[in-house]
Amino acid sequence: MDSTLFSYLDYAVYGTAVIVMLIGFYGAMVKKSLLKIVIGLSVIDSGLNLLIVAIGYYKGGTAPIFSQGFLENFKSVSKMTDPVPQALVLTAIVIGFGVTAVALALVIRLYRHHGTLNIDEIKNLKW
């Protein structure tokens, strides 16, 4: 098929992941709302996970599952995508969810104390 078009994809997936991460970083560093900061952190996580899964991908590879069909017309194992990044991302997603939940709980408690989410008005502590 059209291989020149596909050569763009080589950069597109990584590029998108990095751009999404940067957007998340921007949100977490610049925005004043506590919730926006947490949203930024979760956007960073999304980009990062895409980046990691993309590392394991091989062109024309199959999912790393030895189903009945795969075993019958046995193809080479090297045609499978790399399962290690997938396993690591599984761990990373679950851990990221735990951290997000903790951050949101802190946001709720800060709101209860201060009545606002604006980071400028919550500065009892020097940064």
Partner: protein
């Protein structure tokens, strides 16, 4: 001013990250020449000694099972921290925040869907070593089932005691099966059960047992997370 600095910093960071990953390359073999990557060993050993169909499962539960033990601990800790951060003396029944007033169609539909969702979750984590999915995915699906009920019914409540009993028992099963691996001079998390036949439900030794325990644990933990956050009624300044 701050924004410009941030953008400059991010531009540098983004440039180096992007260049690094473009160097690695997408969709083609990227390992350095002369290196035998562990993934080949994993893929080879998934079928032969382990008789697991899903390579991701064999990595998550067996080769790198120690990570998974740490991971369920992270979730367990997240529930603990949530409880500590949002701690209140006692809850009156029905005093949780209601996201919307569900109509009778939603409540009836939820009642109908709930068993199906639980069944799907159970199916996903029991077949974790055969098909995509496993303890985490199944556990999360079950937790979404409880979430649906919590949203549809204002007075639906989950017993904290029951949740923590399920969670503890599942955790003890995981760590206990791991310690049982020390039998016959093995190591922690050693696969000590017979392997069975590939693509059968009863195959893979201890892997299905651990994944089922993980499923129960993740389901209880995530339900606990949702329930704790949902019980938090806002608007109480001071």
């Amino acid at each position: 001013m701050k924004k410009v600095l941030v953008i400059l910093l991010l531009a540098v960071l983004g440039y180096y990250t992007a260049v690094t990953f473009f160097d690695i390359g997408f969709g083609q073999p990227h390992f350095v020449a002369g290196v035998k990557p562990v993934k080949d060993i994993y893929l080879a050993k998934t079928v032969k000694p382990l008789t697991v169909s899903n390579a991701v499962t064999s990595i998550v539960v067996n080769f790198r099972g120690f990570d998974t033990l740490g991971e369920v601990t992270v979730l367990f800790l997240a529930v603990t921290v949530l409880g500590s951060v949002l701690y209140k003396k006692r809850h009156a029944v029905g005093e949780r925040s209601v996201l919307f007033n569900a109509s009778s169609i939603v409540t009836a539909g939820s009642k109908l869907l709930f068993p199906a969702i639980i069944l799907l979750g159970a199916y996903v984590f029991i077949h974790g070593h055969l098909s995509p999915g496993g303890g985490f995915q199944g556990g999360v699906i079950i937790a979404t089932g409880f979430l649906l009920m919590l949203l549809a019914y204002e007075n639906y409540s989950v017993s904290h005691t029951a949740l923590s009993i399920v969670e503890s028992l599942a955790g003890i099963t995981f760590a206990g099966v791991g310690l049982l691996g020390f039998m016959h001079g093995g190591t922690f998390l050693q696969n000590f059960l017979p392997a069975g036949v590939l693509n059968n439900l009863f195959s893979g030794g201890i892997i299905p047992i651990i994944y089922i325990a993980v499923g129960f644990k993740v389901a209880a933990e995530l339900t606990g997370v949702i329930y704790t956050v949902l019980n938090e009624k806002g608007e109480s300044n001071g």
